[in-house]
Symmetry: C2
Subunit: 315 residues, 2 copies
Amino acid sequence: MSGEFDLISRIAARVSPRSDVILGIGDDGAILHPPAGSELVIVTDTLNSGVHFPESTAAHDVGWKALAVNLSDLAAMGATPAWCTLALSLPSPDDAWLDACIDGFLALAEQHGIALVGGDTTRGPLSLTVTACGFVAAGTALRRDAAKVGDDIWVSGTLGDAAAALREVLQGKSCVDVLRSRLDRPTPRCALGQSLVGIAHACIDVSDGVLQDLGHVCAASGVGAEIRLDALPTSDALVALTVGAERWRLQSAGDDYELCFTADPSQRDALVTMSNTLGVRLTCVGRVVAGDGVHAFDANGREVRLQTSGYEHFA
Amino acid sequence: MSGEFDLISRIAARVSPRSDVILGIGDDGAILHPPAGSELVIVTDTLNSGVHFPESTAAHDVGWKALAVNLSDLAAMGATPAWCTLALSLPSPDDAWLDACIDGFLALAEQHGIALVGGDTTRGPLSLTVTACGFVAAGTALRRDAAKVGDDIWVSGTLGDAAAALREVLQGKSCVDVLRSRLDRPTPRCALGQSLVGIAHACIDVSDGVLQDLGHVCAASGVGAEIRLDALPTSDALVALTVGAERWRLQSAGDDYELCFTADPSQRDALVTMSNTLGVRLTCVGRVVAGDGVHAFDANGREVRLQTSGYEHFA
């Protein structure tokens, strides 16, 4: 079984270089060269075993998801990923588990050109905290506080798949791969986020549930939102599994890592073109209104109050 | 008891602003303005309850130490602190504990002018991961790989105090305040680290024990080191508590958060002046030699092999 420093060396040997990384893993800190004229975006998210992923999750997928949820935050800011750190607590050394975890982490990192430049490995309950940095041209980052009355509200991909998979797993049922992979290996919408700069007004990633996350946008922007629940984008697998309010509850439960953004109705054609170009489904699910709060309606225009409004730690 | 979002708002309301923070806590990410012509230094360190601090540690001190160990890494790179994030996992919500923890964190942050710009609060075993960013003029960061044969080896402050305090605490003994405060509220040597730029060759922070940390410098620089154990800087409190090899073991056990650096002997006068100016004790404890590894000697010039050579997770 390897010690801490062998472990660090083994990870360092597998990281892809970037020309703006002057010094990566192996010193007290990494030395990095920020691009001139850009603003730096920093995000951080923790995954704890049994809280953010089932204990049965494969090591590869734990590594993937730890980076994915952070890339999703960079995407929501419209930032281009650059560098990240990984702080990993493990109850006991396990080379095979760790190699698989790093495999998953680096596989996703390569897809997005983000370099792992440092981290910390400690003994403790299984937990991963990633901090990721990206860049935006000055003044162009997508924020929560920029929604305008009259904007369309859009959502990428489909909602509710991860929550459905989690429910099946927690009930000890088998779960179709297409749903399970949405829980274990979410797809951060980095290209979409970068493409939305200059087109979207407000943007947020759907991690805590679309209604709750949209509520943050409304609060920050001083507006309200109306959502048509039957318009929420739904995968075939979720259609096969659920109906009505049960489906809507799963679709507002969180863990989706899609982008929810607002844009002026004049951008509809541009967004349809963007959807086709990127191969990412984009669905208009409602509109920004004067007032406050998020109001959800059924197909008959009746307001619906769901039992759950998303995920909140310590709620 | 507050929920997650109340908690985040309460923390955000207490953070001091910096003019280069365009958007701080409260969005998917922070937006920051790096200074032109500088290189960015990123460090990250995790503290797990019962591993990195005794479970009896006061909440204020947990917050302080989580930032201090990261500031110590920035100091070792010669970087000026700028921004940080805090990822905090708590088993259950506890407003009083949390306020005290944030008090400690922000008290140290104010001392060093570092802004808390984001984070994550999750449910899980008590754990804090801080990622901190600082800046150095391009090409000037202090690194581990720059020690030269003939350099003096210097250590700041005193060594062994935190390890002595931990031993007393674990044995259920009372511990004098001067030692306990070295365990719970270490002093990161930020001003020293910045002053060493252009004067020191290699630098590292003494977190895992001076012999082990110096070993990393030797390995990275392709040199060896000779240390005089009787020259290790020792506090009066540690002198009162220990003698001989027992003292040396505590002094190489880690958790000191002092700087260990190498410098050409021609810098001795400059370092004495720096020590007086900053009010930080600096002690020459040995020299860099051709070869490899760290060799420790007693007052009679006999080589000493200590039973412990520092702290390693998973060793």
